[in-house]
């Protein structure tokens, strides 16, 4: 298991981050980041959804229960949504989810909503780097099941 996740006893703990990207902007942003060879930690697992408006609390809660240390949700910038108002809807749902996660007792840092456009490869790398640093500070998620690294 240690080999598979690239961690050994002496190495620093690497968080597991689930990132939901919208098909039209953020997923393109991830592509640009790769093509532009921007350096970022390999902590993020990207899941593509058609629109940030597709964000469902169940995805994020399930990610935490399955052992994610942090979750980022990203979509097109406000006003740029491919489906006109999907990201507005994401904002409202995020507000509820954030309040719920905070009341539940998970650290505020573990959940983040950010807008990344298809051309912002550098910004994508920056968001991932910063978020990874943030999660490293708060440590492994208390909701992580036993035996999951």
């Amino acid at each position: 298991m240690a080999e598979a996740t690239g961690t050994t006893g002496t190495e620093e703990w690497q968080p597991k981050i689930v990132m939901f990207c919208c098909n039209w902007c953020s997923y393109g942003g991830a592509d640009s980041a790769g093509m532009g060879r921007f350096q970022m930690p390999p902590t993020v697992r990207v899941i593509r959804v058609m629109c940030s408006g597709r964000m469902d609390p169940v995805f994020i809660l399930n990610a935490f229960l399955e052992g994610a240390d942090g979750v980022i949700f990203s979509g097109c910038h406000i006003g740029d949504c491919h489906y006109v108002s999907g990201n507005y809807k994401a904002t409202i749902k995020y507000k509820f989810l954030k309040a719920m996660v905070n009341e539940l007792g998970l650290e505020d840092e573990r959940l983040k909503l950010d807008w990344i456009s298809a051309s912002e490869g550098e910004r994508y790398a920056q968001v991932v780097t910063e978020f990874t640093e943030q999660i490293k500070k708060v440590g492994p998620s208390p909701l992580k099941p036993e035996g999951v690294i």
Binding site: D56, P57, V58, L61, N62, L65, E66, V84, S85, Y88, K89, T91, I92, K93, F96, L97, A99, M100, E103, L104, G105, L106, P142, L143, K144, P145
Partner: protein, 386 residues
């Protein structure tokens, strides 16, 4: 008759007037609505015993009259009993009325054909707990009880031999008896959201105990009361201002008590929130009873909370509840039914309220009070012009 008018009324029928509580106005009004064809069905509470009643849907005016008498029952999920659009009248505590309005928002109940006859409510008691309380605290035989009343902060039981036994509610509630927990912190006592609000608060002078105070809230409220007057079933007289003041005072006093209970039960969690919630939910057996009785859930049998979680999950917390926490944040009315039905005795209403109350306060939105849609569905979208 106009919206906002207040009256004191009573049934003309001698039998209903004596058997019904506070002059039997509500019983007479419901029976008249059926007889005159204003509605096709009426929801009444059928007594199972002295402390227990179940809601029954009936089209027989005689059955409505037979059900006269004050009785509190649990909020019903109207949409599961009746077809959409059925003309129905139902007597409703504030939580019943609020849950019916929440169902109407979700397209489960047609609000235009539903006449909500609101009843003042100072709290309800669990039947099993009441029996236990009578045996252990009052030292009475539950079978010997003839009546029950709450007056001046005391819970009074009258036995069949005519004697009254009174104990202060505060003392009972400190020992864990008395009203249901959700009733203790509920601050909605007068059903202003119902079509017509009825109750004995504010009935003074000669009419005390013999009349019902009525406040008209909507056009439908006017229709159902005028229908009963036209049928000759009830008589009304305008309420005097003194009565209105007294009614407001009683309401104010109850709200203060509720605020104190709120501070007691919903006090901030000490220590780790996560440990608190994990510990509270660790006994959950995923039976789904809380969802089945939830009056504001309109998802049906297959929903995100049931389909994405299973009793076989080995997660540290139940995904079923996590989904429902988010889902009910804007709509939980704190009726207390989930706690009542939980076979594992988890204080669910209390937990759901912890998530819902701060969010509802932030949006200044109180579910079930009127037909405005919850903030979830797009306050921001409208502002942004989408």
């Amino acid at each position: 008759m106009e919206i906002g008018d207040c009256y004191v009324g009573w049934a003309t029928d001698e039998d209903i007037r004596t058997r019904g509580a506070s002059g039997g106005l509500v019983t007479a009004m419901l029976a008249a609505a059926l007889e005159k064809g204003l509605v096709e069905a009426v929801v009444v509470l059928k007594k199972l015993g002295e402390f227990e009643a179940v809601p029954v849907v009936t089209s027989d005016p005689e059955e409505v009259k037979a059900a006269a008498g004050s009785m509190h029952s649990v909020p019903i999920v109207l949409s599961r009993y009746l077809e959409y659009g059925t003309k129905v009248a139902l007597p409703a505590k504030p939580c019943d009325a609020r849950s019916t309005i929440e169902q109407a928002k979700r397209g489960q109940v047609d609000i235009d054909t539903t006449y909500i006859v609101g009843l003042n409510c100072g709290g309800t008691m669990h039947p099993a707990m009441t029996r236990k309380m009578l045996e252990t605290v009052y030292k009475l035989d539950p079978e010997e009880i003839a009546g029950e009343e709450i007056d001046k902060g005391k819970l009074i039981f009258e036995t069949k031999d005519g004697k009254e036994h009174a104990i202060k509610i505060d003392e009972l509630e400190e020992e864990g008896y008395g009203r249901r927990e959700s009733c203790q912190y509920c601050a909605v006592n007068i059903p202003t959201m119902a079509d017509i609000a009825c109750g004995n608060w504010g009935v003074i002078g000669d009419l005390a105990g013999k009349g019902t105070f009525v406040e008209i809230n909507t056009e439908k409220g006017i229709a159902i009361l005028e229908n009963a007057i036209d049928a000759g079933a009830v008589e009304i007289t305008p309420a005097d201002d003194k009565g209105k003041v007294i009614r407001a005072k009683v309401d104010g006093a109850m709200m203060k008590v509720a605020a104190a209970a709120n501070e007691k039960y919903l006090a901030p969690i000490e220590g780790s929130h996560l440990d608190y919630y994990m510990n509270a939910l660790k006994d959950c057996i995923h039976c789904g009873a809380c969802k089945t009785v939830c009056p504001v859930c309109a998802c049906g049998e297959t929903a995100k909370c049931t389909e994405f979680s299973s009793a076989a999950d080995t997660y540290k917390m139940s995904l079923f509840h996590l989904v429902r926490f988010v889902h009910l944040m804007d709509s939980c009315i704190g009726c207390g039914q989930c706690t009542d039905v939980c076979p594992a005795d988890i204080p669910l209403t209390h937990i759901y309220q912890r998530f819902a109350v701060p969010m509802q306060e932030e949006f200044e939105y109180k579910p079930g009070m009127d037909m405005t849609t919850p903030p979830f569905f797009g306050v921001d979208l409208i502002e942004e012009g989408h």
